[in-house]
């Protein structure tokens, strides 16, 4: 089964307190990782924010992004939803439209979801979307 990764889960590989190396080593070999194109914007935005706040150097930021670029994460088009459809996904779960993108992709691809975001986890549970580590 494929895994949809969101920006929070990805950033946790870079900056999170839990060491992800063993998990990544196994998962990158055995599973296919997916992300909507939005994921690229969110991840780079967060890394650049840390750079602007002098929490990482530009060299470190580039290296982090290079590591992610080298990972076999399949960046795919946003799920095909009408504007009204997007709102309909968002409303009942009080999710941002950004989060809906990850959720809808997981449904569309029948994939598991990997996120640190509790609201997104809760919505995924309600929709019976399998979650990694759940």
């Amino acid at each position: 089964m494929a895994i949809v990764v969101d920006a929070s889960a990805t950033l946790a590989w870079l900056f999170g307190e839990v060491d992800p190396i063993d998990w990544l080593e196994v998962t990158l070999q055995q599973e296919s990782l997916l992300a909507p194109s939005l994921w690229q914007l969110e991840v780079v935005q967060a890394v650049l924010k840390k750079e602007r706040q002098h929490q990482v150097t530009s060299h470190q930021a580039d290296d982090f992004l290079q590591v992610l670029d080298a990972m076999a994460i399949d960046v795919v088009d946003l799920p095909h939803l009408t504007l009204q459809g997007l709102a309909a996904w968002s409303r009942p779960h009080q999710l941002s439209t950004y989060d809906v993108t990850y959720l809808a992709l997981a449904v569309e691809r029948q994939a598991e979801l990997l996120t640190l975001d509790n609201n997104l986890k809760l919505a995924a549970q309600r929709l019976s979307i399998a979650m990694v580590g759940a």
């Binding site: 900056f15 307190e17 060491d19 935005q45 924010k49 590591v67």
Partner: protein
Amino acid sequence: MQITIPKEMEQVVRAKALEAGFQSVEEYVLTLVTNGSGNERVTAMTRNEELKRLQELRREVQLMSSDEIVSLVAEGRD
């Protein structure tokens, strides 16, 4: 069994084996014969190198809690 590579091909095959991350020509040729390609090995090596680099980078920076990471993403959306 011993693999014999024609003299005129030896340099080319050796270079390709090194490029694909193999230390010995024999191992490279056997992988080609059994798997059809040495690319998987290259991918695995690249992945290991990148993960090693990630481990080093993580040691250089201050780590964040899950809540801090979720907030960082949310700030990017504002």
